[in-house]
Symmetry: C2
Subunit: 521 residues, 2 copies
């Protein structure tokens, strides 16, 4: 597949002269073909096509919807090394990581295909009539229907798994929604390749082109125009807090407000409980440094804050962390903008009152990020709320607490998070149990004896959490539960069977349904 | 139980000198004891108590949470005639209606008690670990947890079923959330009686007082203060569009935005399909007038707009509607304010370009509302979007369409609705099937051959719909699915069993769970 620099509007490549370029992450230099900037007309055409395709796509039998998702996965797999090589150059991420991420992306599409066929997400409910009741009880049958066309914003840090064909797109397609993607300008060639694969799948499946569009550009107005288009019914976004908050404002100010699912920022507090710290300070320190420097620290679930009680064991932990850091080489960051923001954020962190340097990674030339860890007393941490600010990259801070009550006080005062982690030995269980209500309020995922980086795509995953980790803590953007974001319930009252969806016929089977209050599989 | 005019803050009656009064709906005259106006200090105390009670209430075993809901129902039942008599005077609603509404209210509490015990709403999911996978697959277990304290705004038109112990309160309690109610000033004595019953139940169940508070007053600032309190995690509201939009704005402007579930306005379009109209014009007209004048038209699901194709049958329908209207007496409206707004709204409707009077109900003296029906051509309707404005009361308009395509065009252009209805004979099915995708996009409930008034409290009910019918079309405020509004998912990764909620232990049983992707009952 050749990269042309064009947008995809409802199955057609479209673009006049290109005006902007991809940049090599390693050098920051522009390279390759020029990309067309999508304008308001492109947005309007993509949204109109999506609205027109929406009832057709929503009405597909679920088996065909699932087949379409599998076909998208197949087409992306077929891109093979072309995709990996392009993504490497654009993002600076290593080959193994990108191959793994492609596997995750197609695996996610196939998981959602299975989920579509499972069908339980339709929440099928039947309450039979009872004409003898006073007043007579009507026949009521409920199912979930798609919200309508979804705008998806590609993320910079997962150029495949959270981008054009990432989790938002896969779950929106699974829910029966057409998708208009606003591609991330940090990987336009990668985006175009994936969009080409989806567009081929749409055509081969015989679906209307409006099922999918990709619009690219570097101006913020593009996203605003997309989110405020009246035909868009919901928004999926992974990125900065500023970007997410702006989309929330635009969506709330529409004549018809729409839901925004923005996954924004998180410092993922990790608590080292005393008995576990005592028995494994050095092992914990090495694993910590491994987690915080993974992928140059550019994960939403990076462990940005560690909490522990002041002790000899904590001193051992900090010394071992310093040693481990010395072995961490600089890694190319995703973009020069991210590198600059990281460098500045880390400088602000270092300069905060009470911050003490624990250790530094090796020199990080060019656009590489230098790993670094600081520590601070809980008193100083509590005195300056900016310590909670996410520094996107391999920087982290250890908060030294006087006792477990102060650990609880720090955690209770923190903003909403994607994850929070407890390292504990059995002797810590009682104290951990007391902390759990605080942690359940704080985050969408609570990890025991692990590290937050690594987000499994499965049924019981929650990659979400209270604001400002996300715009809407009632949801997850990873895992099969993500499909619920793009659905709404409709109830049919006394509807003749001939007009009811097949899944709501009395005789239908094979899907979890709730009949007169009882779940039946 | 004696009415004292005090507020309930976390189990204690509280109020200095009363400053405002209940008004008799029939006369508009103030009567009885003076009520205390809750101030900012009362709001802060109620919210602080709710936040403090929240982890205690959330941690109750589900059997005890269910028992608490049943105890609330029992206490309300015990209020008996005292409650009905007070509500009659405050609202003007007849005795039979209020007794029925009390039955609905306690039935709703008991249904939610059963739902709590059913437990499927917890969405329990277990994905077992697979250490052999590359990378190793963690053990993940998911459940829904309560959002936190919920602010509930009592509605004027259902002084029991959508007020202090109504659907919002019942579903929030069921979800494990503490509740702070802002009572509707149209029925303060009714509210106090019900709040007293809940407060007794809280005390008898041995729960902290913060589980429930009732705050009353007549100033808009009370609601704003409540919704912007940082301890409030969600809002339930039934009322006017203006009121709901204001709460949405306040909630979105908070440092931590929270979900608002506002059920606001709907004109509930009813379509009379040609074959059915031909065979039953007169019967349909009589049932229509019965539905639109029920309870003085003060239902959220009142049939405010009827659509039909111009025909002799439609003329017969309009003549029969006129005849039926002549037999409708004036009925006391809920408040003098609602009566005034109805009278003015009906006058505006009558004066709109193209509106033709079909018929009037009997004279309506004092605070009674006079039933009235108009008709308008679809062309005129489409030319003036204000025809869609809800006139809260027994007024309705019949839209005369040129053909079924124009019916579809009118429905496609309408705002989101709570309900939409199709009257059809078998000969209409093919045309009805073509309309269904439009109706599914338009409303939360699609009724066949019935009338929208009457909302069954059951599993498959949806009392919700796209904006502006509600603030959030992904939900329902009636029926067991309403519990989902007050929950968010939490995932536990590799958590030792000793620290996991019991429902997520491997051996737990009796509740629907999804284990490694498969649903098990």
């Amino acid at each position: 597949m050749t990269i042309t620099g064009e947008n995809f509007v409802a199955g057609e490549r479209r673009g006049s002269a290109g005006t902007w370029h991809a940049h090599a992450a390693a050098s920051g230099e522009p390279f390759g073909e020029a990309f067309a900037a999508a304008g308001a007309g492109d947005v309007a055409d993509a949204c109109a096509a999506a609205a027109s395709a929406q009832p057709v796509y929503a009405a597909l039998p679920l088996s065909e919807r699932a087949a379409f998702l599998r076909l998208v996965a197949e087409k992306i797999d077929e891109l093979g090394a072309t995709l990996t090589q392009r993504a490497m150059k654009e993002t600076g991420l290593p080959e193994a990581r990108l191959n793994g991420e492609r596997g995750r992306t197609v695996g996610q599409l196939r998981l959602f295909a299975d989920e579509v066929e499972n069908g339980a997400w339709q929440q099928l409910r039947i309450d039979h009539a009872d004409p003898a009741r006073t007043p007579p009880k009507p026949d009521l049958r409920l199912r979930m229907v798609p919200l309508g066309p979804v705008a998806v914003f590609g993320a910079s840090n997962f150029p495949l798994a959270f981008s054009v064909a990432g989790g938002d797109t896969a779950s929106a397609f699974a829910a029966g929604c057409c998708v208009v993607v606003k591609g991330h300008p940090a990987h336009p060639g990668t985006s175009e390749l994936v969009a080409g694969a989806i567009t081929e799948a749409v055509a081969e499946a015989g679906l209307p082109g409006g099922v999918f569009s990709l619009l690219g550009g570097t101006e913020h107005t593009l996203g605003e125009t997309l989110v405020t288009d009246p035909r868009i019914a919901a928004v999926g976004f992974t990125g900065s807090r500023g970007g997410g908050l702006a989309l929330m404002r635009h969506a709330a100010a529409r004549a018809v407000p729409i839901p925004v699912y923005a996954e924004m920022s998180s410092v993922n507090p990790v608590t080292l409980m005393p008995a576990r710290l005592e028995e494994a300070a050095e092992d914990l320190a090495r694993a910590y440094v491994g987690s915080l420097s993974l992928g140059a620290g550019q994960f939403c679930t990076n462990p940005g804050i560690v909490l522990a009680v002041e002790s000899d064991a904590l001193t051992r932990f900090l010394i071992a962390a310093k040693d481990a850091l010395a072995d961490v080489g600089g890694q190319t960051m995703l973009t020069t903008g991210i590198h600059k923001a990281y460098t500045e954020g880390a400088e602000r962190l270092a300069a905060r009152s009470g911050a003490e340097l624990v250790g530094l990674g090796g020199e990080a030339p060019g656009t590489c990020g230098r790993a670094q860890v600081y520590s601070v007393s809980a008193d100083a941490f509590l005195a300056d709320e900016d310590f909670e600010e996410e520094v996107f990259g391999p920087a982290s801070i250890v908060v030294r607490c006087a006792d477990l009550d102060q650990v609880a006080a720090v955690l209770s005062g923190m903003e909403g998070q994607l994850t929070t982690t407890l390292h504990m030995a059995e002797a810590d269980h009682e104290a951990a149990a007391a902390l759990l209500p605080v942690l359940e309020k704080l985050a969408g995922r609570i990890i025991a004896n692990g590290w937050p980086t690594g987000v499994d795509v499965t049924h019981a995953m929650v990659h979400g959490g209270p604001f400002p980790a996300t715009s809407d803590g009632r949801t997850t953007s990873v895992g099969t539960l993500a499909i619920e974001r793009f659905l709404r319930p409709v109830s049919y009252q006394d509807m003749p069977e001939a007009l009811l969806p097949g899944a709501l016929h009395d005789g239908a089977s094979g899907t979890l349904r709730r009949i007169d209050g009882t779940y039946e599989t």
